[in-house]
Amino acid sequence: MNKKFFSSPIILILPSLLAIGFVIIIPLIFSFYTSFTSYKLTRPDSLYNFIGLRNYERLIDNTKFWYAFGRTILFLAIVLNLELLFGLGIALLINKITWGQRTLRTIMMFPMMFSPILVGFQWKYIFNDNIGVLNNFLYLFGYESAIPWLIDKYLAMGSIMVAEIWANTSIFAILLLAGLLGIPRDPIEAARVDGCNSWQVFKNITLPFLMPFIFIALTIRSLDVGRAYDIVHIMTGGGPAMRTELLWTMIARIGYKDANMGFANAMSYVSIILSIAFTYYFFTKLVAARRELGQQ
């Protein structure tokens, strides 16, 4: 070891380097390595059973995986769009209120205060076909056949989306409200004098000012929704007949239940591409929206 290696800058950053190494880099390399082995949790010696690209080859042929992949994209697309729409609506309405705005802002954030697991349980109860609140409510209005919300192959996915949207729309609302509160008053007034009606003001002035906030919210939420596991696990467990299986419920099942960690890790690395793609896309849009406003 020469003297230079232990110079003070190196020593000073060493603790953080070690921490990052142990917490992130080593697990990353390790998991990446296992994706090239036939590692099973129940047979530790299989960790050294190097099989090259076999896991990835299997994965490419695995239609169930690609269905889950596609289903996750669909889930992301629908949930993000609806949350954006509802969140924007709520933010615009709350922004209009002059009296009691703070109280409403707090009430609006209630869904965010519950653990996703509890939200899952709550909605599972609401959507239960026998004792669920929703079916009982419909029964009151004379709809007598119980709807199998969580069992029907189409309704189950929709039910999970409803729960996810209920729990997280407020994130959009709060971020967009922050954006709305930050818009200067002058350009909006100028637009009104310039002949715009409310819709034209919204479309031409408010929305461009809001775009950076929309893309920040989309980035955060795409990462969040992309790793959806808890709500799905609680409400349907991926059923019926894997109709609500998303990427991470599938990976968790293969990795922990089937103990097939090598294969599960290979799937994870392919799945991460999805998250990276979404994040990259929204960030590019964010930068563009800010440049449009002359903020960068």
């Binding site: 200067p184 002058d186 350009p187 007034e189 100028a190 637009a191 009104r192 004098v193 310039d194 002949g195 715009c196 009606n197 034209q200 031409n204 002035i205 461009p208 000012f209 449009e292 406003l293 002359g294 903020q295």
Partner: protein, 365 residues
């Protein structure tokens, strides 16, 4: 192109009165300036005319139409804001053409009108730029251009120059004046800067606490202020105001302006002072002339006083001294060197002095 009429206009925020019973008729093509200290209601008045502020009571007419209930977009007025209020995501060109695009004006027509505004304001080089790439003065110009292209019935300016530096402000002031001569439209202009008000206005309205104090041409309000507020607000440096005793001495009515200085009451004021023991005396700094020798005729006042401070400004020197404990400013044109403590002779043309009632602060004529 139209006249603007305000009838009994009032604006209250809860209990606070912003504008009180304002009556005003602004003929077509007039350059009207609303001036006053902050919080006097001038901006509120302008915003009510624009439709950005609701009216508590009263009526606003633009042309012959009652516009009380109309949205800003339907009033056909243009407004230039203090912070320019440009649309940051649009280029200069798009900013200028925006209102026309909204009004669904034909594309070629938009192009012609934008081109015209660009030429009037010298924005040729900047058309493709965004507001963030412009300097303060350029942004202000774009804001004016945006107002011009619409060919509105009236222009509303809300302190448009207060964010510019002194040099640019003077330059833009001239341009606004030229613009008015070129466009021949009604302009209502709000400012707290009395120099802007004097230089630009056909007619000035001086406001205070929601009330109109005086309406008149710049020369009128300067020469014949109706009260102490207007007298001190208009003119720079502000008019010197002194509290004077009126006394009888040697069978003559005298005005005591300092312990040793007693001056003859001008003939035309004698009757006004009959029952009064005190008045406010107002003298503008330029009417308080330092003279080397006593070369006065009978009607002029004359006294000497030691000066506390002299500020040479090149074309003039401002002399500061005290009368009756109050600081007084005199402007010396054709300045000669003076130093602190020098006893200077001052001459006042009594036709140029002002007296105000001590209780009402109104002018005594």
């Amino acid at each position: 192109m139209a006249n603007v009429d305000l009838k009994n206009l009032t604006k209250k925020y809860g209990e606070v009165i912003a504008v009180q019973n304002m009556d005003l008729s602004i003929p077509h093509n007039e350059f009207l300036v609303l001036v006053g200290p902050s919080g006097c209601g001038k901006s509120t008045t302008l915003r009510m005319i624009a439709g950005l502020e609701e009216i508590t009571s009263g009526e606003i007419y633009i042309g012959d139409q009652l516009v009380n209930e109309k949205d800003p977009k339907d009033r056909n007025v243009s407004m230039v804001f203090q912070n320019y209020a440009l649309y940051p995501h649009m280029t200069v060109e798009e900013n200028l053409g925006f209102s026309l695009k909204i009004a669904k004006v034909d594309k070629n027509e938009i192009e012609t009108r934008v081109k015209e505004a660009v030429q009037i304001l010298g924005l040729e080089e900047l058309q493709k730029r965004k507001p963030s790439q412009l300097s303060g003065g350029q942004r202000q110009r774009v804001a004016m251009g945006r107002a011009i292209v619409r060919r509105p019935d009236a222009f509303l300016f809300d302190e448009p120059l207060s964010n510019l530096d002194a040099k640019l402000r003077t330059q833009m002031r001239t341009e606004i004046k030229k613009l008015h001569q070129k466009l021949k439209t009604t302009i209502i202009y709000v400012t707290h800067d009395q120099v802007e008000a004097m230089t630009l206005a056909d007619r000035i309205i001086i406001m205070k606490d929601g009330y109109i104090e005086q309406i008149g041409s710049p020369i009128e309000v300067f020469n014949k202020p109706v009260n102490v507020f207007v007298a001190t607000f208009i003119g720079s440096p502000p008019m010197n105001i002194l509290t004077c005793d009126i006394i009888s001495k040697d069978q003559k009515v005298k005005i005591k302006i300092d312990n040793e200085i007693y001056l003859d009451c001008p003939e035309n004021f004698k009757d006004l002072f009959n029952n009064k023991s005190k008045v406010y005396l107002g003298i503008r700094a330029e009417d308080l002339k330092p003279v080397e020798k006593n070369t006065i005729d009978n009607n002029d006042w004359f006294f000497s006083k030691e000066i506390d401070l002299a500020e040479p400004l090149g074309t003039e020197t401002q002399l500061f001294f005290h009368l009756n404990g109050k600081e007084i400013i005199s402007r010396m044109y054709n300045p000669y060197p003076v130093s602190i403590g020098d006893k200077i002779n001052f001459q006042i043309d009594t036709s140029k002095i002002h007296f105000f009632d001590i209780d009402t602060e109104k002018t005594l004529f």
